[in-house]
Symmetry: C2
């Protein structure tokens, strides 16, 4: 019997889940739910598409519901609401609001007896795990997280709001010198500017004042003012041809000292290079869907993060296979 | 109340545990046990040293016993034996024999109601975790593990057994071209020779035939014959001065494809650069000692590997702290 997974919200992440489920033999896609008109949504796998309003009618046909909405307005409402009826997995990534999100979801999932996995993905998610493991192992050390090279949707959107901009794509790029200093155990204290640069590819409206646009971007508070930013004006065709993807990635490093006189340095480094940010995120969510299903089967309930999930729950292998093939 | 940790076997790993315990505020070193004459063993921390034979008298004063013996003859006997009386952690690293070691230890620990963590360290250990996580996330892909640059004790010992060799140190080094091909998602099938090179620093006896020694090393089956090996003859002073440390490290990579048409490549890479192999290994064991203690407190029992331990058990932080600081 396969794990029956359903998707709520069919955007980039939802499509990524659809792909990921197809790569996991022990899972099947039960249905896709959307707030749009279901007949207007064409899914790759041919799975059934229903309106979000009919979700509860499917309660008995779904083992895990994947919440593919956004962290700004969708998930703060949806996760706690749906945890009343389903095991759920979300990718809530507003770091500062995780504690309150956890509390809300934990109450709902504990009362209903379901497992609700929140903040799954790569950051939060795989990066968080690596921060935790590295901190538990190297007790006397320093943490560093770098993002990129990759597309920041938020920064691309910010550029698009500048008047005279038709379209834009922004890449976040780690500063190589900072990475080198960290890897050399120099323990640097890095400013925002020293950690990342920002590179923008901008399609301007015809006749727009490019110098003014560039100036507005580079001085934009929060988004760009604290960074060394490069702005390239390109054509719409170039943007489509060279910048259509949504790659991302990044690095988590911890350096630390051991020895009775702290005479030894160590570097733990984890990095991701991803051609598709949403598809990789979806793969992580799908692995945690397996864990949610199994943990519920074992009688667990409540809100869980990646910290609460023993790694073995994520793999389709048996414990014996894992020990002989992966340990 | 601190977690009372005891050390069985005071070699490099035991000393590493002593250092690691001193870096963890929630732990204290209860005692060191040795098979040597206790009065001959001088410990850095000033902890009490007892003979191994008196271990059982200390049953009530030890929460977790760290088994710091070797995988060849010590641990196959000790871990199952001591799991009858203690929560234990070992670094059993004979990959092929892990299944039988697990079975033996699981029986003892399950019967006695203790938690026995086996095969903890970095490989097996942190590398295994990364293989498992990466496999669970990227279902369609390839795994690669590289070791080094670092000292292989086994290969150094093998060189020392060549007649005319007074002392030697062997470094295992990943081949950069192989790493590059993996990182570029070329999915290479790599031979032993293509993955690692071996570099040997040898002190010859006076008057020994160096050409013969070099030839014997390079053609030694299993150890060197399948590798490109470099042999440097140096003086005893140079060996002491430049090769006294026991650094190690390595990389675990998984590359994989996602997308409905497998059109996107991803690279997950985990790497360690360690000045001291035994001290880092000891840090990992110490984190898992915390987990063993907590899991036993929660009523768990039996043999566990890193796959069975939810990451949260490893950290001294509260769940709230973890979520707000590391997630």
């Amino acid at each position: 019997m396969k794990i029956r997974v359903a998707i709520m919200g069919y955007g980039n992440l939802g499509r990524g889940i659809e792909c990921a489920v197809s790569q996991n033999d022990d899972m099947e896609l039960a249905a896709v739910f959307t707030r749009r008109a279901p007949e207007s949504v064409k899914v790759m796998s041919g799975a059934a598409v229903y309106h979000a309003d009919s979700l509860l009618e499917m309660r008995d046909k779904i083992d895990v519901l994947m919440l593919c909405g956004g962290s700004a307005t969708d998930l703060p409402v949806q996760t706690a609401e749906y945890a009343k009826y389903f095991n759920v997995v979300d990718s809530f990534d507003t770091h500062a609001k995780i504690p309150e999100h956890f509390a809300r979801v934990d109450q709902a999932a504990s009362e209903s007896g379901h497992v609700a996995m929140i903040s799954v993905g790569w950051d939060p998610g795989m990066f968080s795990l690596n921060r935790l493991y590295a901190n538990a192992v190297l007790r006397d050390g320093s943490d560093y997280t770098f993002w990129g090279k990759g597309v920041s949707q938020g920064h691309s959107d910010a550029i698009r709001r500048v008047s005279g901009v038709r379209d834009a794509k922004q890449y976040t790029i780690p500063v190589e010198a900072a990475l080198t200093a960290v890897r050399n155990c120099e323990n640097p204290t890095l400013t925002t500017r020293q950690k990342h640069t920002r590179e923008c590819f901008v399609v301007a409206e015809e006749g727009a004042d490019k110098a003014r646009i560039e100036q507005e971007i580079k001085t934009m508070p929060d988004y760009f003012a604290d960074y060394d930013t490069t702005v390239h004006f390109i054509t719409e065709e170039e943007l489509q041809r060279d910048h259509a993807g949504i790659p991302h990635g990044g690095l988590v490093l911890r350096t630390g000292k051991t020895g009775w006189n702290k005479e030894h340095d160590h570097v733990i480094e984890y990095s991701l290079k991803l051609d598709s940010n949403p598809e990789f995120t979806a793969c992580v969510l799908t692995a945690y869907a397996r864990a949610a299903y199994r943990m519920k089967q074992e009688g667990m309930k409540g809100c869980k993060t990646v910290f609460d999930v023993a790694p073995a729950y994520l793999s389709p292998m048996t414990a014996e296979e894992m020990r002989s093939r992966l340990l």
